[in-house]
């Protein structure tokens, strides 16, 4: 993936670039708002990582300009501000996701990978298939190896989200945000308990488990 990082803090930027390189991505860096905007609008990137407070031009205005030019590159906003209304403001300006500093790198990586995939048009699928597990979004039926699995509505949404991002790491915060629509840090193991329940419903008694825990990052469903 080709990623542009617009971030004025040199240390933070070089840390990000090294880590993303190691994860197998190509990164470019812009140190201020003007350069960042020029690079973002003249080159094709899969994801933009934009710091909110930048010299010369603030992050939100870059995003607004790009969106006004019909540039749909997914944007992850990084910010030291984490209040609910800051997030709302960020997303309203055209950002696709919002991450508060300081963050764990695994969280950022999971989010940009999901973002990059989101721009691909597989969005409107009516059913998902992972191995012998299938989920039908219309009839709300879930089967594994031809056998029906009964899920609670919330469990269904959890599985739906995981399957939509099959093969990708999904963090606990992402699950909380997308399945429950809350943006706080779950303090205890709330999400883990839900996951273990879901796991017991779809993986119990199966030889090859589909739901995997990725240590230090989150979860992934894959064949």
């Amino acid at each position: 993936m080709k990623i542009l990082i617009i971030e004025d803090d040199r240390d933070a930027a070089s840390y990000l670039m090294t880590a993303l390189d190691e994860a197998g991505h190509v990164t470019h860096h812009a140190g201020d708002g003007d350069t960042g905007y020029a690079m973002a609008s003249s080159m094709d990137y899969d994801v933009l990582i934009v710091d909110r407070m930048l010299p010369r031009r603030d992050g939100l205005s870059i995003i607004e300009s790009l969106r006004a030019e019909n540039n749909k590159t997914p944007v992850l906003i990084l910010s030291a501000l984490g209040e609910v209304d800051d997030r709302v403001e960020g997303l309203r300006s055209g950002g696709d996701d919002y991450l508060t500093k300081p963050y764990a790198f695994s969280e950022l990586l999971a989010r940009i990978e999901v973002l990059a995939r989101r721009s691909a048009p597989a969005e409107a699928a009516t059913s998902y298939q992972v191995g012998d597990l299938s989920l039908d979004r219309l009839s709300r039926k879930v089967t594994r190896a031809e056998e029906d699995i009964q899920l609670q509505p919330r469990e269904f949404r959890l599985l739906e989200y995981l399957m939509k991002h099959a093969g990708q790491v999904v963090t606990r915060t992402m699950l909380l945000e997308n399945v429950w629509d809350y943006h706080f840090d779950p303090q205890t193991n709330v999400i883990d308990v839900h996951m273990s329940r879901l796991r017991s419903k779809i993986d119990r008694g199966q030889d090859n488990p589909l739901l995997h825990t990725i240590r230090g990052a989150g979860y992934m469903i894959r064949d």
Partner: protein, 486 residues
């Protein structure tokens, strides 16, 4: 005094506003000017109108006397006319009388000479005259000699005699002078009076503005407790002073909040930071094996995360206390919040051996910040999980309830744990306060502070109650919040 230190002293001690530079003074001046203009035109108009009136009156008098003379003439001919004129001329009045024979020679009257043109042409005339000394046949030596201007009417009798009757208009002029003088002094009086009145009222206003200025200077030197004096007059200045004071209250409150936060940060965040530093230092010192170093690093990250969490919680409390813009308020279904958060936490509660009951109406909507209400509810549930011991036998229930109560909406979490002693119920809402018996559980003592801040943001409050046994933590929120949330 040198030029050099002029500006410095000026800056050091803000000068009282010069009277003539104040708005009030200018307003007063304009007011005086308008008033004087008005008075001048009014008095001028009156003077003009009265002089016209007097002239008209004089003409009426002249007309009347002419009528009398005419009647005398008709009854008794020229002789009676001359006698009547002599009688009139002797009288003490201001009248001017003259009669001349057809050749223009005066035969009776009280003026020495009348211009020929006046005699020739009947009608209205004005001319300079000289009053006759004792008029014809009249030997009164006391009668003063006089000159003046006369307004007269003249006419020619059928017999060729000419009659002139008039009035002195100098008198009318002196009347105008009197009016003008009265008028002049009147205007002077008005100016003096209104300048004095204006200056006094300007002084009063200035004094009050100065009081506000003095207060603000004291505040600038650091005494945030100062307030602008409010009088009992209840006028615009008091309105201004009251809202300034309200603003100062709010600022002081925010400053206090800031100070609390920094104090807390200094006190409660330094300790874990120091611990962390010591640990890393120790790990650096002994270079036994890589595994130990890695473990030390991992535990450092863990402590870091904990610190970040505490820090975030602190910041969030501070920001919630400072008040988010009302834009973050939306029509929120409290029942949905309770159901969602309840559902999110149900498995964890169950793992902790607690039953969850959610008792909410179908829907309960109010203007609120949904995220923050959710967060508050999460904090309450996490406390229940931490502080309610796992029951040995039987059930221990945690109840989330939401209901309406008059003007308010109530959201509460009740547990059947140890409860919170009455004496600690207020204290426990403060930052970093943890009760002695809870030290074994992880936590930083910020959970309930955020709950309290969220309640405050919604213009509500937190109430802690006894559940016999257990604790009830109750958020009481007025229904009408949002728009007015500061």
């Amino acid at each position: 005094m040198t030029d050099g230190n002029g500006p410095t002293t000026e800056r050091a001690r803000p000068r009282r506003l010069a009277l003539w530079r104040t708005t009030t003074f200018r307003l007063t001046a304009i007011f005086v000017l308008i008033f004087v203009l008005f008075a001048v035109s009014l008095l001028g108009y009156i003077a003009y109108q009265s002089s016209i009136l007097i002239q008209r009156q004089q003409l009426v008098d002249i007309e009347r006397e002419l009528g009398q003379l005419n009647r005398e003439y008709q009854l008794g001919g020229t002789r009676a006319l001359v006698l009547a004129i002599q009688r009139f001329a002797r009288g003490p009045g201001p009248g001017i009388y003259f009669v001349a024979d057809p050749s223009g020679v005066g035969i009776a009257g009280n003026v020495i000479d009348v211009p020929i043109s006046v005699l020739e042409e009947p009608g209205q005339h004005t001319f300079a005259y000289e009053r006759d000394r004792p008029s014809f046949g009249d030997e009164d030596p006391n009668r003063p000699e006089a000159r003046g201007m006369a307004l007269v009417r003249s006419f020619v009798l059928p017999s060729g005699y000419r009659v002139v009757v008039g009035r002195d208009i100098v008198e009318r002029r002196s009347f105008a002078v009197i009016i003008f003088q009265a008028f002049f002094w009147g205007v002077i009086g008005i100016i003096v009076f209104s300048v004095i009145a204006g200056a006094i009222s300007a002084r009063r206003v200035l004094r009050r503005i100065d009081a506000i200025g003095a207060t603000s200077r004291m505040i600038m030197t650091g005494d945030l407790g100062q307030r602008v004096p409010v009088t009992r007059r209840n006028d615009e200045f008091d309105g201004l002073a009251t809202s300034l004071n309200a603003m100062l209250d709010r600022i002081e409150q925010l400053m206090q909040g800031m100070k609390d936060v920094t104090d807390n940060v200094a006190h409660d965040l330094k300790t874990p930071l120091t611990r962390m530093r010591n640990k890393v230092e120790a790990a650096l010192r002994d270079d036994r094996d890589e595994d130990a170093a890695k473990r030390a690093l991992e535990s450092t990250i863990e402590e870091c995360d904990h610190l970040i969490k505490t820090f975030n919680a602190l910041l969030m409390i501070a920001r919630v206390e400072a008040g988010t813009p009302a834009s973050a308020f939306e029509q929120t279904d409290l029942s949905a919040v309770a159901n969602d958060v309840g559902e999110l936490y149900a498995p964890v509660l169950e793992d902790a051996g607690l039953d969850l009951k959610v008792e909410v109406p179908e829907s309960l909507s109010l203007r609120a910040n949904r995220e923050l209400l959710g967060q508050a509810l999460v904090n309450l549930l996490e406390n229940a999980i931490k502080y309610v011991p796992r029951p040995d036998k039987g059930h221990s229930t945690v109840t989330i309830a939401a209901r309406e109560a008059g003007e308010n909406v109530i959201l509460e979490v009740a547990d059947q744990g140890p409860g919170i002693p009455e004496a600690d119920r207020e204290r426990v809402l403060e930052r970093f306060v943890r009760l002695e018996k809870s030290r074994t559980e992880a936590g930083s003592g910020l959970g309930l502070s955020l709950v309290a801040a969220v309640a405050q943001l919604h213009k509500g409050r937190v109430e802690i109650d006894d559940n016999h046994p257990g604790a009830i933590l109750r958020l009481i929120l007025p229904r009408q919040t949002g728009e007015t949330a500061a």
